[in-house]
């Protein structure tokens, strides 16, 4: 049918079909494009709005702990303390949550029979369903005061360790990084557990049976097969958790007491994280130059969480490549 090739018109029905396919295809591609373009644009706008403020800044943005944006003619803002509080609270959260999450994930995948593990896993997922403001509420009003004796004990007996030395806020009420870190740990527990559970479950049955057939106890089997197999996934999950902790806003905002002096690198400091600083100042976002200062802080937080998440993906991807 060479005449077909040289251009006799195709049956009408088929053009209708092709048009349907074309339209639908463009719709799906367009949606993807919307996502890609809007993120690009948003990043651009943020940069554009942060730059003038950074130029007007009279002190070093990275190394100063001062934050005064009230006087537009004399902007002075630095993120040192924000960085310290953010990192300290998130790392404390990670240090607490990582071992617990590993234990839970192992418990759910290799100790409990699958039928019973299901509802148990659901309980952990429930933690993820609690909104952050409720965690903040509970942390500030209930957990913080309850932790006060422990914090006092640690401060009195371990103050030679810088992390446990006197902070810049009073210990009473527990409005410090110590409380915030513990609450953050609870908040990121579900995500780390969920990711670890998934990889631990995927340990090849052949390896497990191989270890058991050698007469390994259950723990030895886990140590020799499950943990090496799931390590990269576990670390990737922990990084995702860290990303959440770094960006958590309102729980930290409610829990941490504001401090008059700058950070002392102690768990018993108060103050602001990047996120809580931005949220606390939100009602005053009227002057573009002072808003720009907060946007600059937001950009740093964004880059930070992006790096952590990228690391998580990289680790997970490498682990997957190794496993296959």
């Amino acid at each position: 049918m060479t005449d077909n090739v040289t251009g006799s018109s195709p049956p009408a029905r088929s053009t209708g079909r092709r048009r349907g396919d074309g339209i639908f295809r463009s719709m799906t591609t367009g949606s993807s494009l919307v996502i890609v373009v809007s993120i690009g644009l948003i990043g651009l706008f943020l940069l554009i709005q942060a730059v003038p403020s950074l130029q007007a800044n009279t002190i070093n943005f990275f190394t100063s702990a001062e934050w005064s944006t009230g006087d537009v003619g004399n902007l002075a803002f630095g993120i040192r303390d924000l960085l310290v509080v953010t990192v300290l609270s998130s790392l404390l959260a990670l240090a607490i949550a990582m071992p617990i999450a590993m234990g839970i994930a192992l418990f759910l995948t290799h100790y409990l029979p699958p039928k019973i593990a299901q509802p148990f896993a659901y309980v952990i997922d429930l933690l993820a369903a609690v909104p952050s403001i409720v965690f903040g509420l509970w942390g500030a009003k209930v957990l913080g005061p309850s932790l006060e004796p422990i914090a006092t004990f640690l401060n009195e007996n371990l103050s030679w360790i810088p992390l446990f030395s006197d902070g810049n806020v009073s210990l009473s009420g527990g409005g410090n990084i110590f409380t915030a870190g513990i609450v953050l740990a609870i908040m990121i527990l579900p995500i780390i557990t969920a990711v670890s559970r998934e990889v631990f479950r995927q340990t090849p049955a052949m390896q497990i049976e191989g270890a058991l057939a050698l007469g390994a106890t259950r723990w030895e089997m886990i140590r020799t097969t499950v943990l090496p197999f799931g390590r990269s996934g576990y670390i990737a999950g922990s990084m995702l958790g860290l990303g959440r902790a770094l960006g958590e806003t309102v729980a930290v905002l409610i829990i941490l007491r504001s401090a008059s002096s700058s950070s002392t690198f102690s768990f018993f400091d108060g103050g602001y994280t990047f996120a809580s600083k931005i949220a606390s100042a939100a009602p005053e976002f009227s002057e573009p130059l002072s808003t720009g200062a907060y946007i600059a802080a937001g950009l740093v937080l964004f880059v930070f969480t992006f790096a952590v998440n990228a690391l998580a993906r990289y680790i997970a991807g490498r682990g997957k490549a190794k496993a296959s």
Partner: protein
Amino acid sequence: MAKRFDIKDLNIYYGKFHAVSSVNLAVPPRNVTAFIGPSGCGKSTVLRSLNRMHEVAPGARVEGKVLLDGEDIYASTVDPVEVRRTIGMVFQRPNPFPTMSIRDNVVAGLKLAGVKNKKKLDEVAERSLRGANLWNEVKDRLDRPGGGLSGGQQQRLCIARAIAVQPDVLLMDEPCSALDPISTLAIEDLITELKKDFTIVIVTHNMQQAARVSDQTAFFNLLGVGQPGQLIEVDDTEKIFSNPSQKATEDYISGRFG
């Protein structure tokens, strides 16, 4: 309805991989042609290229011509959707649509093409199910999901679904390989009946099946690892199974292959 196929110098590629080389084959109407040959010899690939299903895999392309009653199904003006509408296909594993009832499965092709007349759909459903020898078994549960049937019934449901759109040709890709012997027999009987209305091409691993149901048999072989599959010989089934002209065919049929 039934139409003839002329396959001329067909070469099939997946990306850089040359899967099948120069197939020349004529499939007469109202006739069953069986494709046999060892695994990986390209017989399913050739079958899938007959209704352009192989295009679903990225990077697949063909050279040569496949003429359906003289019209090239690969001509640039031909829509693959049109081709598939004219040339139906039954797959290795029964694949009824899980979200649809038995009746809706049968008339899925028509419904999706926009036919709304309920009376007509019911008629087609009954006719197709009868055509697939399934009507008596399912007529009381047409509204139940198709997934609830046995494997053999599901496969006949898929055949009913394929013939409901009234294609000219029916391609069957090892339709019985996932079925038990009794269901297989039911499908083979059905193929013999369907032959009256359709041109049928069937890929099978089972040589007895090829001998039982087909009029013409094509033997495909692989010359070596990484080499393209080739059509070795095509002839009347009787001849292929009693007195093939190629040594390779004889070896394969008598089980001395490899």
